[in-house]
């Protein structure tokens, strides 16, 4: 039987990552000394599946590593050991380590690492400590009947196992070969198949199992370890275990009935040759497994480079999709019938209109359903924060509680992936700069445990994510001083508190007096802002001294669809994202001032809006060039407003965003392309790119640099 297992690697790795996530989040619920068996069981099950899977696929490094983890968990589960905080730390570290190993599989690198080895030894030390304890306990209650409890590791036991699976074994997905391989890992093994119960060919059902096996096992492992091998098939087979002999360290036989056949076994079977041949059997077996491993490695090499990602979709979403497609087919049949009619009359026209309306309805539903498939609950990002907060608060010696709200709020998967890093940064900042140490909090009359709240909710077509801390808030005077020193603002500039707070998003800005390894290098908030802007989103800060600060991230639900305004420039049609449009107006020449350098500004209420001539930036000479009575679309990006001169405004509609970079390259001032209703391509204007293209400098405050001399002039 040769199945190319490498095709399942992806699934195994996905599942393992999921398992690790479960382990991690459950571990964070555990407190030292607290043995909630349900939680421990959940962690244990996750670890066990990872071990099982990795063993099956031949990732022995992972299997071995998980084994020690699992052993420790097992002991805690059985109450043999108190849960200590050391254990939780170690288990969390081992989760990181396992992640690294899984990553190594994906990159086709060796999975063994020094870190894993040192962790393994730490586990082993703990475990060895316990076995001594356990055996001491056992010595007191030792009883000649409880031979299986004899301390493992020092005594060689010879077991005889009769394994008779029920006929439906294969249908439950079990494979005796894997069981035998696991047994071979425990010690020397001899396996004899019993063929007696195989029926004649005419009665034989090809999917049933008729075999049973007699297994001789020479092992240092204890009975529970052997039983564990059969754990998956316990309910699908009759299994009997019999301890035949024990050889202790001095090689003395504690033979019970070594020479005798103890059971009504196969008369040919004799334990002694079994033991003798066990070595040979085992070595040939391991050779086979080595071969399969190298083979899978080779095939792996070929497919590993393919960077595929998958998502799990709830069946309800797929079902609704199938329903939609069903309706679509019905509508199509109806329209088809109309098209085939011999003559066309008023009645048919009405039916046609109705059909088209239905079609557009179906299309929209289908579009929404397909989009929903990409939507995942934001929990996927949130779930990593309890761990992060735990680690950082330990490092900083602060007491922090994390609260998460709206974890089920759904968000596009691609947005989610890009959201993770900025959020980590913001949370880290809140912990490091925002929250005070316990003493300071008590002095300020607050609860010594600081709170960081992550809140997500939908608002219109956007998702809002808030990161709220109840710390000391932003220190506006310090930010101001820093901004003046860095030359971002003038010492005599008048700025409101919120304008000052916005300054932290400027490049190279950090008020931390010392650079810690957590934050304070000044490469932070501007990167956060840039990343979020790249997702068509915004980030704002709101802070009140002594009470805490709130960072608000606002993101579109999906990157694939955009609401836009069609505008024309001569013969060219462009799309301006609707989110960035503030208003559109007709230019009144008496409100236009020229500030030199070919730049005009428009006085709009109490602001001066620089006018960007889009035809100039995009080199379209067939466009309308006069400002008088021209149309100006006022757009906002990064808190800067500019007016774009266009020829005409067309419709507003939704567009499916297509990548221009996929086949071409990045174009300044253009964020992507889309296909219009007539099949032609139209380009989407990138406002912040456009402002850069126009060479307008960013200032440390709202408005632009030239705003100031102008306001003096007017």
């Amino acid at each position: 039987m040769s199945i190319d297992l490498s095709q399942f690697y992806e699934v195994f790795i996905d599942e393992s990552y999921e398992g690790l996530e479960i382990m991690e989040s459950e571990l964070l619920h555990l407190e030292p000394g607290d043995v909630d068996s349900e939680i421990i069981n959940t962690i244990f099950r996750a670890a066990h599946s990872i071990k099982g899977g990795s063993g099956t696929f031949g990732f022995m490094a992972i299997a071995d590593f998980t084994h020690v983890v699992e052993t420790l968990l097992d002991q805690i589960r059985n109450g043999e050991r108190e849960l200590e905080s050391l254990h939780i730390d170690l288990l969390l570290k081992s989760i990181d380590c396992l992640r690294g190993m899984l990553n190594a599989i994906q990159n086709d690198e060796p999975q063994e690492s020094e870190e894993a080895e040192s962790l393994r030894q730490q586990f082993q030390t703990i475990l060895d400590g316990s076995t001594q304890k356990a055996s001491q306990m056992e010595e007191k209650v030792v009883d000649s009947a409880t031979v299986e409890q004899i301390e493992p590791g020092s005594v060689d036991s010879i077991w005889q196992i009769h394994f008779a699976p029920l006929p439906h074994l294969f249908r439950t997905g079990n494979e005796p070969l894997f069981i035998f391989e696991d047994l071979a890992a425990l010690g020397d093994v001899t396996i004899t198949a019993e063929l007696d119960s195989i029926p004649g060919l005419s009665e034989l059902h090809p999917e049933d199992s008729y075999l049973s096996w007699l297994i001789g096992l020479d092992t240092k492992a204890d009975e529970s370890a052997i039983k564990e091998v059969f754990e998956w098939v316990e309910d699908d087979a009759t299994i009997s275990y019999k301890l035949i002999a024990q050889i202790d360290d001095l090689n003395q036989l504690n033979a019970e009935d070594y020479e005798q056949d103890p059971e009504p076994l196969d008369s040919n079977s004799n334990v002694e040759p079994m033991v003798a041949s066990a070595q040979a059997e085992k070595s040939s077996k391991s050779e086979i497994s080595v071969k399969t491993m190298t083979k899978s490695k080779l095939t792996d090499g070929a497919s590993a480079k393919v960077d595929s990602s998958s998502i799990r979709v709830g069946t309800d979403k797929v079902d609704s999709l199938i329903n939609m497609v069903g309706e679509l087919v019905i509508t199509q049949a109806m329209l088809n019938e109309l098209g085939e009619a011999e003559e066309f009359n008023q009645e048919k026209l009405l039916a046609l209109r109705e059909g088209l309306a239905q079609l557009s309805h179906n299309t929209r539903d289908l579009q929404e359903s397909v989009m929903r498939i990409r939507m995942l609950p934001i929990n996927f990002v949130f779930s990593r924060f309890p761990r992060l907060v735990r680690d950082i608060s330990q490092k900083l010696d602060k007491k922090v509680e994390i609260k998460m709200l709206g974890e089920q709020t759904e968000l596009d998967k691609t947005v989610m992936e890009k959201l993770s890093d900025p959020m980590v940064h913001l949370v880290r900042n809140s912990l490091d700069h925002g929250l005070e140490p316990p003493e300071e909090r008590i002095a300020a009359g607050k609860n010594e445990i600081g709170t960081v709240t992550l809140n997500a909710y939908h608002q219109g077509g956007n998702i809002i994510i808030e990161i709220i801390d109840d710390g000391r808030g932003l220190n506006t005077s310090k930010i101001r001083d820093k901004a003046v020193t860095n030359g971002l603002i003038h010492a005599d500039d008048e700025l409101s508190d919120s304008e000052i707070n916005e300054l932290i998003f400027q490049p190279g800005f950090s008020t931390a007096d010392e650079v810690s390894d957590l934050s304070g290098r000044g490469v932070g908030m501007d990167v956060v802002k840039r990343n979020i802007n790249a997702l068509n989103g915004t980030v704002d800060v709101d802070s009140s001294p002594g009470k805490g600060s709130t960072f608000t991230i606002r993101l579109p639900l999906t990157l694939a669809i955009l609401d836009g305004q069609l505008v024309t420039l001569g013969s060219n049609v462009y799309i301006i994202p609707l989110v960035s449009i503030v208003e559109s107006l007709q230019i009144e020449m008496n409100k236009v001032n020229s500030v030199g350098g070919g730049l005009d500004v428009l006085r709009l209420r109490d602001e001066y809006i620089p006018i960007l001539r889009l035809y100039e930036l995009f080199n379209h000479h067939d466009a309308q060039k006069k400002l008088d009575n021209g149309l100006l679309v006022v757009v906002e990006s990064d808190n800067e407003k500019v007016g774009l001169l266009v020829d005409d405004l067309l419709a507003q509609q939704q567009f499916v965003i297509k990548s221009l970079e996929a086949n071409y390259k990045k174009v300044d001032g253009i964020s992507g392309a889309t296909i219009l209703g007539d099949g032609s391509v139209s380009l989407i204007v990138d406002i912040s790119g456009l402002i850069q293209l126009a060479g307008l400098k960013k200032a440390g405050r709202q408005g632009l640099d030239f705003n100031k001399p102008l306001s003096e002039a007017v």
């Binding site: 060219n572 049609v573 930036l617 995009f618 080199n619 379209h620 297509k658 990548s659 221009l660 996929a662 086949n663 071409y664 174009v667 300044d668 001032g669 253009i670 392309a673 296909i675 099949g679 032609s680 391509v681 139209s682 380009l683």
Partner: protein, 163 residues
């Protein structure tokens, strides 16, 4: 016949194994010259149609077109080779090709005067372009090949479309 066998035969016979290195080329006309590209790179051939201009792009990039939902940039090969331009007519075609640029597979179109023929050519008899100094177009040329009494210029698409 495998290539190994043919090599062995060649030791005793005249070197005449055409099957071994035979590659199909699509040729097209441009300014009275015939140019060839490997046919496996060709996705499809379309008539010229007006397309959406990309702002601030090099002059030889004519714009982007919609290829069944994919946005495909189109390069005018005459402009790329700094040849004189002609008005597009009904025989002007856009050859859609798939090329690998900087390890990414890209789909692009090239505008040529007209498509000409498909030849089975033996890669072994391709001669290198004569070394007459560094002209701007030289890097684009993979080699020259004689087909009956004509000469065909084989192009290196990857270099042409990497700009």
């Amino acid at each position: 016949m495998t290539s190994q066998e043919s090599q062995q035969l060649n030791l005793v016979e005249e070197p005449s194994s055409e099957q071994a290195e035979c590659v199909q080329y699509l040729t097209f006309m441009m300014a009275e010259e015939e140019y060839g590209i490997e046919i496996l790179a060709v996705q499809e051939i379309r008539g010229w149609e007006p397309m959406t201009v990309i702002p601030n792009s090099p002059a030889f990039v004519k714009g982007v077109l919609n290829l069944r939902g994919t946005v495909v940039p189109v390069v005018d090969l005459r402009l790329r080779f700094q040849l004189s331009t002609v008005d597009y007519s009904e025989v002007t075609v856009v050859v859609i090709v798939k090329v690998c640029i900087e390890e990414a597979e890209k789909i692009m179109g090239i505008v040529v005067d007209a498509v000409s023929d498909v030849y089975n050519l033996d890669k072994g008899v391709v001669t290198r372009a004569p070394d007459v100094g560094e002209t701007t177009n030289k890097p684009f040329i993979e080699g020259l090949i004689q087909v009956s009494d004509k000469m065909v210029v084989l192009l290196d698409l990857e270099k042409i479309l990497d700009f």
